[in-house]
Amino acid sequence: MKDQTLLVVDDEESIVEIIVEKLESKVSNILTASNGQEALSIIISNSYIDCVISDIKMPVLTGVELLKIVRQREIEVPFIFYSGLGDDEIIKEAVKHGVFDFISKPSLDNLQTTILRGLSTGFKIRKNDFSNNDFMNDYQKLFDLE
């Protein structure tokens, strides 16, 4: 298991528990917050957050407001939002600041796969390591240009 850190943000404790339970065997560190303000403090004070999964509507600071502030600070950590019906306008605002993916409420389909992918991307951003995406070798092999 890579040393990756996930931050789960939701004012509903039951949702946080479900997510932690599904991911704890796959992710080395899981932090939690019950609103956007708490989450912001965690993100600012911990440079090693690799992915955030957040609810949209929360007290004190919403998920979108949290995202905006994080991006203003030029922190490119991947954000995953839960979305339900009727959230389209809010999400349209959120994506202007960069959203990695969405999980549908209440089914939480594909939760584990999406979060692990977010963590992997966030880890690469943190380590600034995108060598895996270098396509020139494959291009040269394809056309026998080596």
Binding site: D88, D138, L142
Partner: protein
């Protein structure tokens, strides 16, 4: 004519008897144990005839008959029965109309008799083509019709809508009614005798055509010996007509359901033949009558999604659905702007054109579509270097699945306009840093990988 005969007989003694009779006459014999095997054999083999016992597979004889009559109307069917059913079936033997309605050529009482079987098999069984004999000219506006090139005519033997021939401007004759049987020989006769290359159907029937092509493609993909070029041509016709229907009628629940089927069919096509990319590289020869850009965008998107390390089946389907719907917002653009490319428009028109991703998102806001597909539609013109629209997002901030469709769409436009094969297109694309910096490198890598894998298979 094929000498393949399928036997549907449960009694071992009777089975041996009919098998011997047929083999002695030089016929190749297959045996089916149930309706499913009948279907598999009939789809994979050109059968001359089916010998179908009345007691076949726990009384599924009528289901089997019904299937054969509709799906394989040119196959001769001989029904057999044992003495205990004499009262039930002996009258049917002399009832020609009754037998015709069942799709049966003849009925024979067991034990099987060699002379009777050979006599029945020797009879000509005409598929009664129900072409309309009167050639009444109809005056209907050309814009009400869509075309099918006869060479790309993929149908079973039943017309799923009214079919027409075009005589001249706004003048048509109807050649087949919806629901009637037709013979492909009849269609080819029109082509050869009258020099006609196209059939016509009412554009209002195009939704049925899309649904038919989806089902036809699904059946084609289930066959043991897949004809990949045929499958690709059906897919091209399907996607081209799907997108045309989208622009003609707008989005609907039925079209969204058909999009789901296209996702499944595309996924299965790529799984069935790993050399798809190689065929696509030769698309200008394979699709000599022309190809729709929507097809290239969709299949390229599917190839990329299938070769991304992090993608799974759900991701693939989001991407393909997004590729089908990505330009949906153009429906809400004025016609003089919708049909042009960005560089053909003046600055004011360009500003209007650039609203189409947002319009697409608005249209989908009332539909039962995932957020992932909505974001592909909204962000398909965002570029990794920040030069895209509507929000000028860059790099990691762009929704990852949207980047797949961005590359697939722009690359297919590039090769389409420059008449290049995909591999030649890559040779122009990749060395040009000003082009490549617009797209996600993982997507480019996956696309290259799909051709490399195809080559090595």
């Amino acid at each position: 004519m094929s000498q393949l005969v399928l036997i549907c007989e449960s009694n071992p003694e009777s089975l041996d008897s009919i098998r011997k009779i047929l083999k002695d006459e030089g016929r190749v014999v297959l045996k089916a144990s149930d309706k499913k095997e009948v279907k598999n054999f009939a789809e994979d083999n050109p059968l001359e005839a089916v010998i179908l016992d009345f007691q076949f597979a726990n009384n599924s004889v009528f289901e089997t008959l019904s299937y054969l009559k509709i799906e394989h109307p040119s196959t001769k069917i001989i029904m057999s029965y044992s003495a205990e059913y004499e009262n039930l079936l002996s009258d049917l033997k002399s009832d020609e109309e009754g037998m015709k309605s069942l799709g049966v050529l003849g009925i024979t009482k067991k034990p099987y008799n060699k002379e009777e079987i050979n006599s029945l098999l020797g009879q000509k069984f005409n598929v009664e083509s129900q072409a309309i004999s009167s050639q009444e000219e109809l005056s209907i506006l050309d814009k009400e019709f869509s075309t099918i090139k006869i060479n790309n005519f993929y149908f079973d033997n039943i017309a799923i809508f009214d079919l027409y021939l075009r005589i001249s401007e706004a003048k048509y004759i109807k050649v087949f009614h919806k629901g009637t049987i037709f013979s492909i020989d009849e269609i080819n006769r029109y082509k050869q005798e009258k020099g006609i290359d196209y059939l016509y159907f009412k554009t209002n029937d195009r939704k049925s055509y899309v649904s038919h092509l989806n089902d036809f493609l699904e059946k084609t993909l289930k066959k043991n010996n897949l004809n990949t070029i045929k499958a690709l041509k059906i897919t091209e016709g399907l996607i081209g007509n799907y997108v045309n229907e989208l622009y003609f009628q707008g989005i609907s629940e039925e079209l969204l359901d058909e999009a789901d089927k296209i996702c499944t069919n595309t996924y299965d096509l790529l799984r069935r033949d790993r050399k798809i990319a190689t065929y696509l590289d030769d698309f200008q020869n394979i699709f000599q009558e022309g190809i729709s850009r929507a097809f290239l965008t969709t299949v390229f998107s599917s190839l990329i999604a299938s070769n991304l390390e992090w993608a799974n089946r759900m991701t693939h389907d989001f991407v393909v659905k997004g590729a089908l719907l990505h330009d949906l917002g153009k429906l809400d653009l004025p016609e003089n702007i919708r049909t042009k490319n960005l560089n053909e428009l003046d600055p004011e028109e360009q500003a209007i054109f650039k609203t189409h991703p947002e319009k697409g998102l608005e249209i989908l806001s009332t539909c039962n579509v995932s957020q992932q597909v909505k974001q592909i539609v909204y962000q398909h013109h965002e570029l990794v270097n920040g030069e895209g629209y509507p929000n000028g997002l860059f790099g990691m901030r762009i929704f990852p699945l949207a980047k797949v469709v961005t590359f697939a769409s722009d690359f297919s436009k590039f090769i389409y306009q420059n008449k290049l094969s995909p591999l030649d297109g890559l040779k122009h694309f990749i060395p040009d840093r000003t082009i490549v910096c617009r797209y996600d490198s993982a997507c480019i890598k996956a696309f290259i990988k799909s051709f490399a894998r195809s080559k090595s298979n």
